[in-house]
């Protein structure tokens, strides 16, 4: 009796399933984000203090949420690779890293654009900003380490180790950086402090972005699986040609 993860870890079944899920996920993500943008830009009220700039929040918060969720996903995948040796776990970790770095960058960028009118400066060395910046550096480290190693299977495992080390150290970084807590507001309890007129569009955008990420992740994973198959076939083809050449010579 195979468990669900074991079934999904079969690359052939993954390709089959993902090809069926992907169009749906893309359509739902596009529809949710379109609806969310409509709500966020037109329907929801401007903030009584921040005016129209509050609308940056509807992009900023989903990106920030994804930047952390994707690192969690990479850590889970890395664990799956090192402990259970699922080949797909590495594909997942590899595909997620650049997407995660992009969302982290977007969170920093939108936050900085929001900070200019609100705080009067694009960047402050505040706890929240600094720890997201360090998260961004961790993503870059993961991508760079993988890019620097020739042996793909070793690269996969080494990157997985780095991802797990990062996950153990992240709470310490977060906690240490919180010591000079300054400008950014603490995490908001969405059920009580955000007005329903803003909570609903934010929720739609967050779900839309999350599904968008899963669609992009699935697509990137499919590309990676296909890339590996092509590589394996090329190797086989070259090996076959060598054999033929050897027979012809012998």
């Amino acid at each position: 009796m195979q468990t669900l993860t074991q079934q999904l870890a079969n690359p052939t079944r993954f390709m089959e399933l993902s090809s069926r899920v992907l169009p749906w996920a893309s359509v739902i993500a596009a529809a949710l984000i379109a609806y969310g943008l409509y709500l966020a830009l037109l329907e929801s009220p401007a903030d009584y203090q921040q005016g129209e700039t509050v609308r940056i929040m509807y992009i900023h918060v989903p990106c920030a949420w994804l930047s952390m969720m994707i690192y969690g996903l990479i850590a889970l995948s890395s664990f799956g690779l090192l402990v259970f040796r699922h080949p797909l776990a590495d594909v997942s970790a590899k595909a997620a890293a650049p997407i995660g770095a992009a969302f982290t960058f977007l969170a920093l960028l939108t936050g900085s654009l929001w900070g200019k009118p609100m705080w009067g400066t694009y960047w402050v060395w505040d706890a929240r900003l600094t720890s997201v910046l360090i998260l961004f550096f961790l993503y870059l480290g993961l991508i760079a380490l993988r890019a620097a190693l020739d042996d793909e299977s070793a690269a996969a495992k080494l990157t997985a180790i780095l991802a797990l080390v990062g996950v153990t150290i992240l709470p310490i970084i977060k906690f240490s950086v919180n010591w000079w807590n300054t400008l950014h507001q603490p995490s908001t309890d969405f059920t009580s402090t955000v007005d329903p007129s803003m909570r609903w569009p934010l929720l739609v955008m967050a779900i839309g972005f999350t599904i968008l990420f899963f669609a992009m992740h699935l697509k990137a994973m499919r590309n990676e699986v296909i890339r590996r198959r092509v590589k394996a076939m090329r190797t086989q083809a070259v090996a076959g040609r060598d054999r033929l050449a050897a027979q012809a010579a012998g």
Partner: protein, 221 residues
């Protein structure tokens, strides 16, 4: 345990007899610190205010340059393969090599720091605290650095990659190292920050060898 200490002694002897390595790190430390006033201007008040930060950052950079020494030469000449097939677990090998790195790099850098403090007009009161915090913090530098050194032992462009991988991990060490020095002159004293710094070092001494050994094992196969 005997073989553990034998390994530490071997690395220390290698560091001493090869020479150069310790001197290079100290020289680099000296140059980075003396470049600071050239870049920031010779204002003594400003320098004494930022001295702990400058010293800590220069120390991290100097240690970073010497990190690849932990595994690289042993990996290249095959000693690591022999050690991996030997009786003591690879985790202990990694721990011994990190410890040797701390003794040959961390301690000399920590002892040099107050001397360089003179260049930056650091208050005399802060000297013992500076030595204490750097001594408590540098084990974290060596043991966390060993993870990066092990991960990049086979990589192309190892040096720059090592910095990218390891420097984010040094953030807590840096923050608590500096806050211990600056808190010492305040009302609350250095107690809490210093204890957390020591805790980070101890945690790194556990985590570092585990992760480094796992990384080495993958590359030695």
């Amino acid at each position: 345990m005997r073989s553990f200490w034998a390994l530490v002694r071997r690395d220390l002897q290698l560091a001493v007899r090869e020479g150069g390595a310790i001197g290079t790190a100290l020289g680099f430390f000296l140059i980075v610190v003396s470049l600071m006033p050239l870049g920031l201007g010779p204002d003594l008040n400003l320098l004494s205010r930022i001295a702990p930060g400058v010293l800590w950052i220069a120390l991290l950079l100097a240690a970073l340059l010497s990190l690849n020494r932990i595994f690289e030469s042993d990996y290249e000449d095959g000693t690591l393969d022999v050690l991996a097939t030997g009786r003591i677990p690879l985790e202990l090998v990694a721990a011994a090599k990190s410890l040797a790195h701390w003794i040959t790099t961390g301690i000399p850098l920590a002892l040099l720091a107050p001397v360089l403090g003179i260049l930056l007009n650091l208050e005399f009161r802060s000297y013992p605290i500076l030595v204490a915090t750097t001594l408590a913090g540098t084990p974290a530098v060596s043991f966390l650095g060993a993870i990066g050194a092990a991960l990049t032992v086979k990589a192309r462009r190892g040096g720059l990659l090592l910095a990218l991988v390891v420097l984010p991990l040094y953030v807590p060490t840096l923050i608590f190292g500096i806050s211990a020095v600056s808190a010492a002159s305040g009302p609350s004293g250095m107690g809490a920050s210093f204890l957390i710094l020591a805790a980070i070092s101890l945690a790194a001494a556990v985590l570092g060898p585990l992760a480094a050994a796992a990384a080495l094992r993958i590359q030695l196969q």
